[in-house]
Amino acid sequence: MKAQPPALATWWLEHLRFGVRNDFLIGDLVEEYGRGRSRAWYWKQVVAAFVLNFGREVRTHPLLAARAAASVWSVWYLDGFVFSSSLHKLTIPLPPAIGFMWLLFGCGAWAGAGWIVARIHGEHKTTMVLVFAISVLFWKLPWFYQVLVDTLRNVRYGPYLLNDFLDLVLTSVSILLGGFSNSFPRNAAPTSNQLSVHVESEDQLR
C-alpha cells in the first residue's frame, strides 16, 4: 500500500465541511490513493469537493449567504465612518508606530468580524465566512484595480499598489483565521503517523 495521503488535504476536508460529514468521501479518496492515485489527483478531488459543497450550500441557503455578504457593510461603516474618520480628524502627523498599531487593529477587527459571522451561522459557518471574505474582496477590488491602472501609467504609485495588495491579503487572512479559529485543532494538522495510529485504533476496536 502507498504512503499516507496528503495530511493537510484530509484535514481540510474533515474540518472545513459544509454542514455534512465527509467521512465516506474521505474514505473513498484514501482507498483510491492507496491504489496508486497521485497526490495531484487527491488534491484535485479535495478542491472539487470544497467548491461543489460551497456552491451547493449557497444555493440551498441564499438568505443566509445574503446576510453574510450584507454584514460586510456594517463592518465597513464601523471602520470607515467611525474609526477612520476619527483618525483623519487628527491634524498632527501620526508616527509610524501608530500606523503599525492601526494596521494590527484593522486585522483584529476583520478577524473579529469573521469570528462573529462564524458564531452566528453555526453549522453553515464555513460557507458564510467564505461568502463574507469573498464579499470583502469584491468590495475592495475596484480600489485595487484603480491603483493598479495608476501604477501601470506611473510607477510612483507602486508603494500604494503594494499597500493595497497587502491590505487585500491581510484582510482575507484575518477573516479566515477569525472565522475558522474554532475549526483548528489544539495541535497542528495530523501527521502521517497520527493517521496511522487512527487506523490501528479502529482495528483494535473491531
Partner: protein, 111 residues
C-alpha cells in the same frame, strides 16, 4: 399533460452505473464504472452530490458499511436504486427513445 421532471444527464449516468453495479455500489466503483463505460473523468464529490439529490427524491437509498483499514478506518456508504428510481429510469429511457426516432441527422454515418 401532467408535468413531470426527467432525470438530468449526470443523474441518469449515475443511476445506470448503480443498476450495473448492483449491491457493491459505493463511491469508488461508481466513479470507476462511469469512467470506464462513460468515458469521462468524474469527481467523487460530484457523484455524492448527485446521489444525495437522488436520495432526497426517493430514487436511491443508502446504508453504511463497515469501516476498513484501507480507507483509514472510515465506513463505505452503499447505494441502491429504489423501485421508484427504476421506474424513473425506464420513463426517461422511453422518453429518450421517442425523441431519438425519425431523426435523419442522427442516422447513418457519424460526424
Amino acid at each position: 399533460m401532467p408535468k413531470r421532471s426527467y432525470l438530468g444527464n449526470f443523474e441518469l449516468i449515475v443511476m445506470l452505473a448503480l443498476i450495473r453495479l448492483g449491491e457493491n455500489a459505493y463511491g469508488v466503483p461508481i466513479a470507476q464504472e462511469i469512467e470506464a463505460k462513460g468515458g469521462r473523468e468524474v469527481s467523487l464529490a460530484g457523484i455524492y452530490a448527485t446521489l444525495d439529490r437522488l436520495e432526497t427524491k426517493g430514487l436511491v437509498s443508502s446504508e453504511l458499511g463497515e469501516p476498513t483499514r484501507e480507507r483509514g478506518g472510515r465506513a463505505k456508504r452503499y447505494f441502491q436504486v429504489t423501485p421508484r428510481g427504476l421506474h424513473e429510469v425506464r420513463q426517461t429511457q422511453q422518453a429518450l427513445k421517442r425523441l431519438w426516432q425519425d431523426l435523419p441527422q442522427l442516422q447513418g454515418k457519424t460526424v
